[in-house]
Symmetry: D2
């Protein structure tokens, strides 16, 4: 961390800053130039807030040199993280596709979808059971009944299930049923929730917040990693900008940037990042071409009657076409689609 002093800072002010650095257990590297005096704070600074120094008299600005996260960084862990899910592997040379409806609505809806997406080449089934809706008057999800339906779909198809957890009070219920936890964009900085997840060994798909910076996404991953859970998948799902033609703006730059900064697998959600089924396939292809490790896509057998997000859900046949295109792009990238396990044999 470097503290840059104002050009008119007094020697006393410089001395005062130096004392503060020493109080924080760091060593000091003083550099007095003509243009400015710069004080380096040397040591373990990734856990030190910069504003402790910004408020000191005579300080012009504070510049962090090392990243504020550590366990998530590629510097700390140069190799890509690869980890097994039930039936397939995330990261590495494999492109994984998670698919399913926004919300579990009924037995036939989720089971039909599970069969259809498996047929098309998906690796896992998603489905929400607690829905964070902006309107208090909208459908809020089936709760545990939904989890039971998802578990049944898993039994029938062999697909692992991915479900959003909305609050730390749901953790035991979720652990009982799901294979991968999902943290939604609105909860990316629900630190209580992140801590509870960090204490499990359950893989987690962590979605970027609507207006979260890439650094903040990595800091949220750091919360989970710091708790001892290493199986974190990052997921870009579009950010909020001035452009309103699409629901969100897909930050496609985030894919190569994250692959550069972190060893964690990076997914993209083209359903939320565009908000419209017409654009999902194009952005899914772009994600894989940019280096993404996987996708999470909304699929619904009957979007017109979906209780939520119908506008951004693909019908199974359009999803199948998308998977095919994505597989071809993956090959150009030297990757391949996760191979799908056979249907389970019961009895």
């Amino acid at each position: 961390m470097m503290i840059i002093m104002k050009s008119n800072a007094t020697p006393q002010e410089v001395e005062h800053v130096i004392e503060h650095i020493k109080d924080a257990g760091l060593s000091v590297h003083l550099s007095q130039g003509v243009e400015a005096t710069i004080i380096g704070a040397i040591g373990e600074t990734h856990d030190l807030p910069t504003d402790q120094f910004e408020v000191l008299d005579g300080v012009e600005m504070v510049q962090r040199i090392t990243q504020p996260y550590k366990l998530a960084s590629r510097q700390f862990h140069p190799e890509n993280s690869i980890f097994p899910l039930d039936g397939f592997t995330v990261g590495g040379e494999v492109i994984s596709i998670i698919a399913g409806p926004c919300a579990v609505e009924s037995r036939s809806q989720i089971i039909d979808t599970a069969y259809a997406i498996k047929e098309a080449g998906a690796s896992a089934l998603r489905g929400g059971v607690f829905k964070p809706r902006t309107s208090p008057y909208a459908f809020q999800g089936l709760g545990e009944e939904g989890l039971e339906l998802l578990a049944e779909a898993r039994d029938l198809t062999g697909l692992p299930i991915v479900v959003e957890i909305m609050s730390q009070v749901q953790i035991d219920l979720m652990l009982k049923y799901v294979d991968v936890l999902q943290v939604g964009a609105r909860n990316m900085q629900n630190f209580n929730l992140l801590q509870v997840i960090g204490e499990t060994q359950m893989p987690v798909l962590l979605k970027r917040g609507l207006s979260a910076s890439i650094e903040e996404l990595l800091m949220s991953a750091e919360y989970i990693l710091a708790g001892g859970n290493n199986q974190v998948i990052l997921c870009e799902r579009g950010i909020r900008t001035f452009e309103t033609t699409t629901r969100n703006t897909t930050d496609i730059n985030a894919i190569p940037v994250l692959k550069n900064l972190t060893h964690l697998p990076v997914f993209l959600d083209p359903s939320h990042s565009t908000g419209h089924f017409d654009y999902v396939a194009a952005i899914a292809r772009a994600a894989v071409a940019a280096g993404a490790d996987g996708l999470i896509v909304e699929v619904h057998p009957d979007p017109v009657h979906a209780l939520s997000d119908g506008r951004q859900s693909l019908k199974p046949e359009k999803f199948a076409a998308m998977v095919k295109q994505v597989g071809q792009i993956a090959e150009v990238m030297g990757h391949r689609l996760a191979s799908v396990s056979p249907f389970p044999v019961h009895g």
Copy 2:
């Protein structure tokens, strides 16, 4: 709600939309023009998601006519909401100022601050005890010990206390101690939390999310109001934009816009909305000049040693100067500062 059909929509598609509207319990008003066919859906539509219609074949776009919130709207409740807190009243002609440190750090810190802000003219004391920090390595708050210290400060000064609740699991603890709940920006769409608060009769200061639209802020208020709790204060605290000179961009437009759209009291937090103590007083004055009903301001007796947000905290003497200026602006606006109750007599 109006459904605008594509110029090449078929009669069958129009008929299909009409059926959907009737299925939703609404009546239909068909308007077939040269340029476009428009189908009005008449009835209680504020709880109806637009995307159910957007996915139908032949639909160009769906335009909501009525607002998606009801209880929060000025149409539904034309008069300003005014409600009593312990010792003062929020809304109406009174400007209320809540002040205190970002986090409760120690007995002397919070009690010194409480005396100082009361002296300066504040109406209530704020202080965080569970801190949502972006870094897992940063100070996370004193928890219940902090609540006890706040209660002691209230006993000594008579100031009601305002504390942020971060999770629905904290609700009982909070109800035991606090006078006003605060919902932070990151929790504005933590709908589980909003529902739990809606079931209490505790006044709540609801902060706008970093990238929440004004409409989304009102929808979150609607969650609380729909639960039966009418005492909601809205609080603008800066939004995230491309401008990085200040920590956030104060959306000062939100003040007159909210006063126009809703009957609820509207506050502004110039500490977070600027991120720097140098700019707090200017933006506090601007807020009141624009029509705000109150302010929430970070004050710390020793910002240099604050464990969080030191850079945006005012020293008590600067806060006192700010209160004086704000009082003068309030007078021009035909308002007045909340009168401060005398110190309590103990014994």
Copy 3:
């Protein structure tokens, strides 16, 4: 255009709006519902500003049904626009790559670059001669001398040249030398410039402004088309958002959205949209996977000594590798790289 009246609008106010519509030469379609009165204005409304109606007493809001642009819209011109440049064709099944330095700096720099990019598979050479620099103290370009060097590079390699025009006073100079005009992001709404270009028959690459909406980009294209010049290439080059890890945020959604809304060819500039050479190839691949018709990429033989934009310029060998990858993605999409003409034979 639909004018939605306030629920408490008087019959006189409704009558007044109707008169206004008739004064504008439009016919009226009145729809009086329980929820709201809606007045349709039928006719040629794409050239009618909505705010003429928004200010009328009793009006709640005005909703445009038809797009405000016409010549640029796919409704008006359903087939893709394809037009020849000197030596290759833009649009259709061909992916074209324009490459070259930010600024022409010297004879050897531009000629070396021209040979290198042609060797690698580029279709055209770019190079700035008037540079819009944010600092008055920075290098401002070589002016006409730069144009002469570009013309020499064209003679030697056969590559058509693409040059940014910054002001309408440069039009005659540009027409004398260049094959494709480029309008930079900062000039996307320099309407005087757009009008002057509209009066020529010179192909133009129109870059999206830093904070321009997709609709505004199409409106700027409309200015050129309305003048009679049909050869407009649209170019996404990144928008300004809160994310600062990259220089800009590539709005990859804009590619499929524009392909849907307009018949004009759509390019992407991954150099500006990322701001860093490390990310250019990934975003170039993503663009073509999303459906772009071409790319414009900064290439410099010695980025370290570039007078501008060195950080986002590819070295020729990295550019060649990028072209190869892009070609493979193009094939998956059923497209192919523009075939490069042989080097001209002189003498």
Copy 4:
């Protein structure tokens, strides 16, 4: 300027950076710490682009210490700039209000407005004659005829006139008629135009671009100052953000920030920054409470029939009420409204 090397930078890479600094005529201050090697570049660096160093091998990042502008900075010129216009003074303790229609439409319109705003307390008359409209089909202004009408209005009322210049080709025409040039938001980085204005001695009101940072606004002012023209007024007019309830988001923070960074007078345009007449007065009061030196406000005698911007124009009587409120706020701030000269006596 500080160049921070990667932790694994080689001694050769460090040496290479040092050579580059010396080549730029600067001296070097080397600081080799445990965490990082930092190389200071000492000397006149405000005119040196950082990207020359960012591309060198081994460089992690480059941090500017001094501001990239000089003449505009308060460090260079600590006292507030105050300069006379015809009939009043800008800057200092005086609050000036410029008012008038978006566009000059007719003789009676502009002359009626001029009388009305002078009566209400305005200091200068604005009116556009070349209109930068997003649609090629919209009203484009009266041109020189409009300038003649403005000059007549000045003769009759004594009010100096403020007119937007859209292109450097208009400079002679403008100098013949106007008292203050206005540079619109879309032209804030039209550097050719800024240079031409810098060569005159005409006061200029420079509007912030829709997505321009505060630093970029100051860089654009630097262009004019560097040409020798010191009479620059900065004007905040709203920035583009995700919030769409208002046309733009007033960046009220920019007022105290600019007053801190620069000696130039700072105005605010509440008409554009809100986009709706209902909010203009509230934001005008806020601006002055935050420390602005003046306002520019759209006033139209008949907004319903305005050819542009009717929705954000005040009627004269509402403008008069606004001026009164602003005057009261100014008094609290220790400022006063510019005193209005008597009407000229002709004859």
